[in-house]
């Protein structure tokens, strides 16, 4: 009898915990997770697979993620091949029809987004190009509204009785974005057309939204680490064009960016696409954009 009880408790302890009554949401990266929390509130339990400080292109397909995905009601992926290197084997192992391919619980984040940087021809000698365009679209707050709507739709389908709740949250999120957008644009207005260097070509959407020119990169080609000759020509171009700000993603090695900065008198700004990727952005998406707009506009103002 006692043994039986012991077995039962052990079995219960081992069996996956499930938040009762909550939608189990898995997002590939922290930015999608943040927006899912805005929409789902306390009716969802959100897990992000990649940590905000990790390079989202290179996440290990850890078996633990298979167990996580197996229990998911909704999966939010960025799409556009961002997770190409790791998500597929996880989904195959997870055998969860709720989030497989075309299921309503599988949110393709980029649905309805106008993709930038779609290559005219696919040729890997130009570096690691994404056939469907640059996958770092969520950093444009206008795109965040589209993603939020996509997520809302999936939540409504997963739990239709709370649709008014999700819809209200979507509306509130959209209004917050619209209100902040006025402020953000005001802050960035003096820097229209300013040129900024980035490590990796992951900021075209931000550049387009706020009128920046981000066309110089530490990487000679997407995914290719900086070479001495490329860095030399970059330094020269920065001097010629008087470019004084370098965006450095939180997960890249700062050494090269710092060395370029010291040669050109530029400042480096630690940036991230993911809430929590840089200190002080843990609270969510809007706080992240606040941080980016503040730090980039300050750096540009100081560089003048």
């Amino acid at each position: 009898m006692k043994l039986k009880l012991l077995w039962l408790t052990t079995a219960l302890a081992l069996v996956a915990p499930r938040a009762i009554g909550k939608i189990n949401v898995v997002a590939t990266t922290a930015d999608f997770a943040a927006i899912a929390r805005e929409i789902g509130g306390d009716k969802v339990q959100v897990t992000a697979l990649a940590k905000p400080t990790e390079d989202p292109h290179f996440i290990d397909a850890k078996p633990g993620f298979i167990a996580t995905l197996n229990r998911a009601d909704v999966l939010i992926e960025g799409g556009a091949a961002l997770e190409r290197g790791w998500l597929q084997p996880l989904l195959q192992g997870a055998r969860n029809p709720k989030i497989s391919g075309t299921a309503p619980g599988h949110v393709q984040g980029n649905a309805g987004i106008k993709m930038l940087g779609v290559p005219a021809t696919l040729d890997r000698s130009r570096g690691d190009l994404h056939a469907e365009g640059n996958p770092h679209y969520l950093i444009d707050p206008m795109n965040a509204k589209i993603v939020a709507a996509n997520i809302t739709e999936a939540f409504c389908k997963a739990e239709s009785k709370s649709y008014q709740f999700y819809r209200a949250n979507l509306k509130a999120f959209e209004e917050k974005i619209d209100a902040r957008m006025v402020e953000w644009q005001k802050q960035m207005a003096p820097h229209k057309g300013a040129s900024v260097v980035a490590y990796h070509d992951s900021w075209p959407y931000f550049a387009e939204r706020f009128g920046l020119k981000i066309e110089l990169f530490l990487e000679p080609k997407p995914g290719i680490p900086p070479t001495p000759s490329h860095v030399a020509s970059l330094v020269q171009k920065m001097r010629e064009q008087n470019v004084r700000v370098i965006l450095v993603d939180a997960y890249v090695n700062r050494r090269q960016a710092d060395s370029v900065a010291s040669k050109t008198g530029a400042v480096t700004v630690p940036v991230s696409h993911f809430p929590g990727g840089v200190k002080g952005t843990e609270d969510g998406y809007i706080q992240l954009v606040d941080y980016l707009v503040n730090s980039i506009s300050q750096a540009l103002a100081g560089a003048k």
Partner: protein, 502 residues
């Protein structure tokens, strides 16, 4: 449910919005029609071209602009399909149709050993000679078959030390997408999920060659055969999976079972122990025991935020070749334990830095049935004491071995590795007998004798699609001596590259 979003939209909509929507619908319809016409044109064009080519071929004249038929033709044709994708046909993007990839792996180097292929190097796709080796050119095809299955095939081309070309069907199977109860069924030809190394394709290995214990116990090409596999993802908080594969137990890719002992049809490559050679392994399938059964259990969890552990236990049970001669059925049992620990900081660039430690240990129990070489016409082993064909006693042969490897990704695109291999077999009665083959005395079976190897290496990945690897092997074979080998491996990947498992 459907009105969730649209309901709010309807509430907010004004009549002029209806007009706007109508206009948008009309525009979208026009756009769709235009796209359809364009696609029709492309299809017609391709059809016309196909007709021309076929006509040219039936006339025995080949259009020089069309690739020659043959194996490489398929690949080229498919690549042009991928280019068409970029032009707007979208064939092969988003995994909608078939993903096609090609991996070419080569090696160059030298060794002090005179018996590289099957001697120092036990793997069928290891560097096999001084100079250059084509380790393998793998073509991979994969995709969803329909809403119920996904399919994958892996065909490998290689050239052996003798210069002869081989085409191997490494894997080709279909797998269920959504069976209830967390179950998954795979059917076809596949690599047996035994430990970590066996189910991994050569291009994903961290070293130039196969670990000794894998080469010895599971065969030069790994354990793989036609069969079916059922796996169950257990409903635990952590990853925990139980699986059972049932496969054929005969053929050259079932080395410790009913293998013929002729690998790659190469007479010189008789890489199974003398005691395992047999009279007859064509007895077919008479009862269910004649199949190979391979259960596996794997469990994984995060020890901390930055450390992951994966543990597995595997086994393979099946009949072996010595059982077909009236000696009664004899079986082989192989047991394996595997361990993988990986550290990766929460902040990493392109997956670096990392440290990964992987170890696999195996034990093989081979029931060798009594065997009279008089029953064999060729390749007879003679008992020197009597001068007559040897009569081998029935006995159980125990072998064990392990490898342990440490990888350190010390900066983006660079990995340093160190591997230690060890294998040993308990001396069998047949090794104590005074036997000769072609007049040469036999003693300790070189395929079961103790040996070890130490292999440091350094790998540079210019991108995830290419790699360059330098490896040194120090081999010590008991009774044969020590050898030094240096191999430089280079590899390219074209087309689709399936994501790697953990």
């Amino acid at each position: 449910m459907v009105f969730c979003l649209s309901a709010s939209a309807i509430q907010a909509q004004q009549t002029n919005e209806v007009d706007a929507l109508k206009r948008q619908l009309q525009e979208a319809t026009e756009k769709f029609d235009r796209a359809q016409q364009e696609h029709r044109k492309i299809i017609d064009d391709l059809n016309r071209r196909l007709d021309q080519v076929q006509a040219a071929q039936t006339n025995g004249v080949r259009d020089p602009s069309v690739p020659a038929p043959g194996a490489t033709n398929t690949v080229e044709a498919d690549q042009s399909g991928l280019t068409a994708a970029a032009a707007g046909l979208r064939v092969g993007t988003r995994g909608a149709y078939m993903d096609i990839g090609l991996v070419g792996t080569f090696a160059a180097g030298t060794s002090t050993a005179s018996d590289i292929e099957g001697g120092t190097q036990l793997g069928g796709h290891d560097p096999n000679q001084r100079g250059f080796t084509v380790q393998g050119v793998e073509a991979t095809f994969s995709g969803a078959v329909d809403p119920y299955f996904r399919g994958m095939a892996n065909v490998l081309f290689s050239i052996d030390a003798g210069g002869e070309s081989f085409l191997e069907l490494e894997e080709a199977y279909l797998e269920t997408i959504s069976l209830p109860g967390n179950l998954q069924v795979r059917g076809g030809q596949f690599l047996t999920e035994f430990g970590r190394h066996n189910p991994t394709h050569p291009h994903a290995w961290a070293f130039v060659d196969t670990p000794l214990v894998n080469g010895r116990f599971l065969g030069p090409d790994g354990l793989r055969n036609p069969g079916a596999r059922l796996s169950w993802l257990m409903p635990t908080a952590f990853y925990s999976e139980l699986s059972l594969a049932v496969q054929d137990s005969h053929g050259e890719t079932a080395a410790s079972f009913r293998s013929s002992g002729h690998v790659h049809d190469n007479e010189a490559g008789e890489e199974v122990p003398l005691a395992f050679r047999h009279a007859d392994n064509d007895r077919g399938l008479k009862h269910v025991d004649d199949l190979l059964f391979a259960p596996r259990y794997a469990v994984s969890f995060d020890v901390t935020d930055t450390q992951t552990l994966l543990l597995g236990a595997s086994a393979a049970f099946g009949p072996n070749s010595r059982g077909g001669n009236g000696a009664g059925d004899t079986d082989t049992q192989i047991y394996g334990l595997d361990f993988m620990w990986k550290w990766k900081p929460t902040k990493h660039q392109a997956g670096f830095p990392f440290v990964a430690w992987q170890t696999e240990a195996m034990w093989r129990k081979y029931d060798a049935g009594a065997f009279d070489w008089a029953d064999e016409e060729e390749g007879q082993i003679i008992d020197a004491a009597t001068g007559a064909p040897a009569v081998l006693p029935g006995e159980t042969l125990n072998d064990y071995g392990f490898y342990t490897q440490l990888l350190y990704g010390f900066r983006p695109h660079w990995v340093a590795g160190l591997r230690f291999d060890y294998v040993q077999g308990e001396q069998g009665d047949y090794e104590r007998m005074n036997l000769t083959l072609d007049g040469e005395p036999l003693g300790r079976d070189p395929e079961r004798a103790e040996r070890w190897r130490l292999s440091p290496n350094l790998t540079w990945f210019p991108t995830e699609f290419s790699k360059l690897r330098l490896q040194y092997n120090y081999d010590d074979r008991k009774g044969i001596g020590d050898d030094h080998s240096v191999w430089l491996q280079f590899e390219f990947i074209l087309g689709a590259h399936a994501a790697h498992k953990f």
